[in-house]
Amino acid sequence: MTMKTVFEKTTGLTDNQTHYCPGCTHGIIHRMVGEVLEEMGILEDTVGVASVGCSVLSYEYFNCDMTQAAHGRAPAVATGIKRVLPDRFVFTYQGDGDLASIGIAEAVHAAARGENITVIFVNNAIYGMTGGQMAPTTLVGQKTATTPFGRNASIQGLPIRVSEMLSTLDGTAYIERVSTHDVPNIIKTKKAIRKAFETQKQGKGFSMVEVLSSCPTNWGLDPNESLDWIKDHMVPAYPLGVYKDVPKEADR
């Protein structure tokens, strides 16, 4: 009897074991990016930019050329790469602290310039790597290491909705917010990632997929409760959907 292979690990990822906490959805998002790069046949033409945060070591996991950027600066680094190599695929992989806090200017301006890059924006409403401090995306009332009594809007301000904000810029071509809290949404996430890279392939400009992601470790919840927390708390605050999808310049 011959065995038929029905499922294989994507060649978009290396064989390295990831360091993510059990139940963390960073790993799932990595795999989908890897699968998309493999399926589109663009692994060898891609340069990824790893940011700072729990995904800082993502250069060990993606099976393509990778550059590590300073905290928040990934969109600027990606700009430098893409401007020299316009025919290569360039993506950044950034957390919410990285993109929405220290690197907000770099993100806004890369988007405003319409840089033809793809940003994978992992929003887990908290700083993971440094031990669960408040992020710009932390929900009102959410307890973190630096909002021990819950985020108070009158003291810490209100969360930033990055997809909504960036979609107001004329330079953005495709922006979608997706989630990882169940299988149908994970499938949608992969579609969005593919669409983002296709947007780049068509030279339409800045594409970003905001992925709602879990941080069981710093939320103090088990992996299943974490998925529920995304669904029950994050999705209402960060509505899913396509925020921007412009036709190619020529098609407009």
């Binding site: 033409d45 340069v47 990778m66 550059t67 600066r73 600027a76 401007r83 290569r88």
Partner: protein, 354 residues
Amino acid sequence: MGKVLMKGNEVIAEAAVHAGCKYFFGYPITPQSELVAYMARRLPEVGGLFLQAESEVAAINMVYGAAGTGVRVMTSSSSPGFSLKQEGISYLVGAELPALIVNVVRGGPGLGNIQPAQSDYFQVTKGGGHGDYHTPVLAPSTLQEIIDLTEAAFDIADQYRTPVILLGDGMLGQMMEPVEFKELNERDPEQKEWATTGTRGDGKPRIISSLELNADALEKRNELLQKKFALIKQNEVRYETFEIDDADYIVTAYGTAARIAMNAINQARKDGLKIGMIRPITLWPFPEQPFIETRDRVKGYLSVEMSAGQMVEDVRLAVEGRAPVSFFGRTGGVVPTQEEIYDQIIKLAGGVEV
């Protein structure tokens, strides 16, 4: 090609183009903005790219990304902007990426003013950003010299995989002088096997990173960097001397201060005083040798700077207390005059006989 009259900032830009630089990422700040504007016009002519970044922080990180693809790339700024670039410079050193960073220094601290100064000496020679590192620093004193040193800066950057700083000041940036460029010949960009350009069939992915979580491994990386710095110290020291063989006193200065001091020295020589000059061209590595060779026979040194006294510390280290080292400087963007420096020389030498 013949001589052309050009502004210092534009000379730096054209010299970079001559050295094969096709990519520039920058942000305007006086007194170096002409450099940015020149590149915006010039780079498209040579098939290159100019991009105005949203900040100095973004500019240096764009340089980091571009440098990682293996091309010759640069940015330029002036003091407050240069401070912002320090984060990126530390990362460039950590990831071992070549790039040229120009600092046309102005008066500080803080917003200071837009007049010429040399008060960023510490910042450029002692690391500036976080971590144990140095970057080579080249300090021209004439516009013609800018041309050679800009090319040398790119060569050093490529050879050692390091960012290199070209240090000028507002005076050098803003002054006009006739300069001569060699014919611009197309150079083949160097293929750098470490560059991240997409693997494109050549096997294992490449990684550019300065992260090393393991302490022993990071120490090893630091040791390798230190070896590289030692090699640069051994090979890349540049300086110029003037009549130091019979000198009783030696004036030392770099850049604009050296030009003015040179006039004062010429005047003193005419008046019968035996004054020599050591002009560091590389500020790091600092040229210790001419001080070591003269320190046991001169009566003293005078460091002249457009700062409150920064290079004088390196002079003292080189002299090792074997001769007195004095200092004269003006700060806040005030340029010392020839007369002032002359008076200092006279004071030092105990007067002239009349």
